[in-house]
């Protein structure tokens, strides 16, 4: 596989990558300097660090949910696994904090492969419902596995040998930067094209040489690993974690919401989604905690009905008004809009979506 990759040039759409690179570097430098220059205040500063983590997790969820079109309602399983492995290592070993995050991430990625390899052969709703099962089963086991997770009393991390909460801002930024790079790479390389092909039509993709099993496994592993690292980050950030929170269904939902609100399948949409998520969470719901789920539910319904590409879709609309046209395949990242794909309820999976248009016109 690697020889194939090397013998062929990675497809880079010239102008865009250059521009994206410049924007990326400038944004990175600005965000790096922001706390020193602006002096955000402790609260905003810490929330910003947490937002970076949620951005990274949302982007990673989107690799699977958006690029491949496999919506996972069970990513809390990896978030929790990564978090608790990292926490256990921090408590019992002298490993540096970043190593505990990485190991936690890889363990989470491997766990994702364990359940994902068999279930990824399912498409669409079947995969999604299976992930609800994974999440719930993992939560049950984690809650009762006291030796590992501390059960309902949770785990406290030793203070002093990790970064301070103030420093977490920059570690969150590094994490996010790495994830943004991977997002671009996954989407814009030839792998991205293969993933889109899988998302469009698994069988047709296989018929032109794409190995759907392999690429879906790779993406799930990467996604699980990054979400696991985020779990480790979260453990260090909070200095206390308990399984009821880490593995909760609400946690899984948060990744879905971030991805969908921001723009499923887009490269950077989930980063915007994370900001909205945190803003709602911290500033709105702090006053009305009982509206938590309903508000997100309404947001979800609203996005699906009116702007399937979420905030990214809104941005694209604005861009179009100013004469910026995305490439024809750009919209492929998201879900089909009702207009793009003919209504064909009985079409067998994969086949048929274009059949209705057959015939001379």
């Amino acid at each position: 596989m690697t020889t194939t990759a090397q013998s062929r040039r990675v497809r880079l759409p010239g102008w865009l990558s250059m521009r994206a690179l410049i924007i990326f570097v400038v944004a990175l430098v600005l965000l790096y300097l922001a706390p020193t220059v602006l002096g955000l205040g402790d609260y905003l500063h810490n929330i910003a660090g947490l937002t970076f983590m949620f951005m990274a997790a949302g982007l990673a969820w989107n690799w699977l949910g958006g690029y491949v079109g496999q919506i996972s309602f069970g990513h809390a399983a990896m978030f929790g696994t990564g978090g608790f492995v990292a926490a256990r290592l921090t408590i019992s070993s002298g490993l540096p904090f970043w190593a505990t995050w990485l190991i936690g991430g890889v363990v989470a990625g491997l766990y994702a492969l364990l359940w994902g390899h068999p279930t990824l052969r399912l498409r669409g709703p079947y995969f999604s419902i299976a992930t609800i099962g994974v999440g719930e089963a993992t939560r049950l086991v984690a809650t009762y596995w006291t030796d590992f997770t501390g059960g309902s009393s949770g785990l406290s991390l030793p203070i002093g040998n990790g970064p301070t909460k103030f420093q977490m801002y920059w570690y969150g930024l590094y994490l996010l930067a790495a994830v943004v790079v991977i997002s671009y790479w996954l989407r814009r390389s030839r792998i991205g094209l293969g993933l889109l092909a899988i998302k469009e039509d698994v069988e047709a993709a296989s018929d032109v040489g794409v190995n759907p099993t392999f690429y879906q496994d790779v993406v799930l592993f990467l996604s699980g690993t990054v979400v696991g690292v985020c779990g480790g980050f979260y453990a260090s950030y909070q200095a206390f974690i308990d399984p009821l929170d880490m593995f909760s269904f609400e946690r899984s939902i948060s990744f879905v919401l971030i991805g969908v609100i921001g723009g499923i399948g887009t490269i950077l949409g989930p980063a915007m989604g994370a900001v909205v998520y945190i803003v709602i969470q911290e500033f709105l719901l702090a006053s009305y905690p009982q509206l938590y789920l309903g508000l997100y539910g309404l947001l979800l319904i609203f996005v699906i009905l009116f702007e399937p590409l979420g905030l990214s879709g809104l941005l694209m609309r604005v861009g179009r008004r100013f004469g910026i046209r995305p490439s024809p395949s750009a919209a492929a990242g998201g879900m089909s809009s009702a207009a793009a794909v003919p209504d064909q309820p009985t079409a067998s999976v994969g086949a048929g979506s274009t059949d209705t248009k057959d015939g001379p016109r």
Binding site: D201, D207, G209, N211, T213, P328, T354
Partner: protein, 274 residues
């Protein structure tokens, strides 16, 4: 002529249905083999077996001495055999160019064919879609989408191309152009097996023709030999009472178009002597 693709007693049963029953065939380098037969004869199933996406019940298919049947579809593509679908399946939200690039990137690894975009544009140019490269497949006519299906398959660098009814449903003029295109593909060095209902198309372009009926091979030879074969004449003309079996083709059974193949009405009218 050395045999490039060899089928050895291929059988595919779906429960009690013998979709393909003990079919053997060979395809020489640079040859075009026509595959005809009434609907439900097992032609598409035979393609699926040869392309690796459906495992054979018995028998096997070899490409250059190496087995291609019974593996997954993508591995067969890497070995150099690629199929198209009767009902075209473009990646609807990828541009025409990106559709072809998928084939290029994931096709048969081998001697590089230059820069991906150049290679893909070269194929689109050859196939007559270069000016449509940045459109979506949905914006093409049916003939255009059939061309795209072939272009995407060609981009995988196949040694053997399996064409499933690429001419069906086209106007006579489009069909004539397509037949010419198939001949050019062969002349560029790709061997071809083609399923076709449009008789004059398949008879005009094929070097040899194989006839299937109810999963069994009932005749094989040059187009001239085949049309005179008594069993072929019987299969095509003598058994109108078979019509209800038309929908047996198992691989497309649940698609709404499975029964609505625009060409399916033609074979009864078109006499094999066309």
């Amino acid at each position: 002529m050395s045999a490039l693709l060899v089928g050895e007693s291929v059988c595919k049963y779906f429960g009690g249905l013998r979709a393909v029953d003990d079919v053997s065939f060979t395809l020489g380098e640079g040859e075009i083999l026509g595959l005809i037969g009434p609907n439900g004869a097992g032609k598409t199933t035979l393609f699926s077996v040869a392309a690796g996406s459906v495992p054979a019940t018995r028998g096997r298919v070899l490409l250059d001495g190496k087995q291609v049947s019974g593996k997954s579809g993508h591995r067969s593509v890497h070995q150099g055999i690629c199929r198209t679908h009767q009902i075209v399946r473009p990646f609807a939200r990828l541009s025409v160019l990106d559709n072809v690039l998928v084939g290029h990137h994931y096709g048969r690894p081998g001697p590089g064919h230059g820069r991906p975009v150049d290679h893909a544009m070269g194929i689109l140019d050859f196939i007559g879609l270069a000016d449509r490269a940045h459109q979506l497949p949905g914006e093409l006519t049916l003939a255009g989408r059939k061309r795209l299906e072939v272009a995407r398959a060609l981009a995988t660098g196949p040694r053997v191309l399996l064409l499933d009814e690429v001419v069906a449903g086209l106007t006579p003029v489009e069909a004539q152009r397509f037949v010419e295109l198939i001949r050019q593909i062969r002349d560029r060095g790709t061997s071809i097996v083609m399923i076709e209902h449009v008789m004059h198309a398949v008879m005009g372009v094929s070097d040899r023709v194989m006839v299937l009926d109810h999963g069994r091979q009932i005749a094989e030879g040059t187009p001239e030999q085949v049309v005179k074969h008594p069993q072929v004449i019987e299969a095509y003309l003598g058994r109108d009472d078979d019509e209800p079996n038309d929908h047996d083709e198992p691989t497309h059974g649940d698609g709404p178009m499975g029964a609505g193949d625009p060409a399916s009405g033609q074979h009864a009218k078109e006499k094999p002597d066309a």
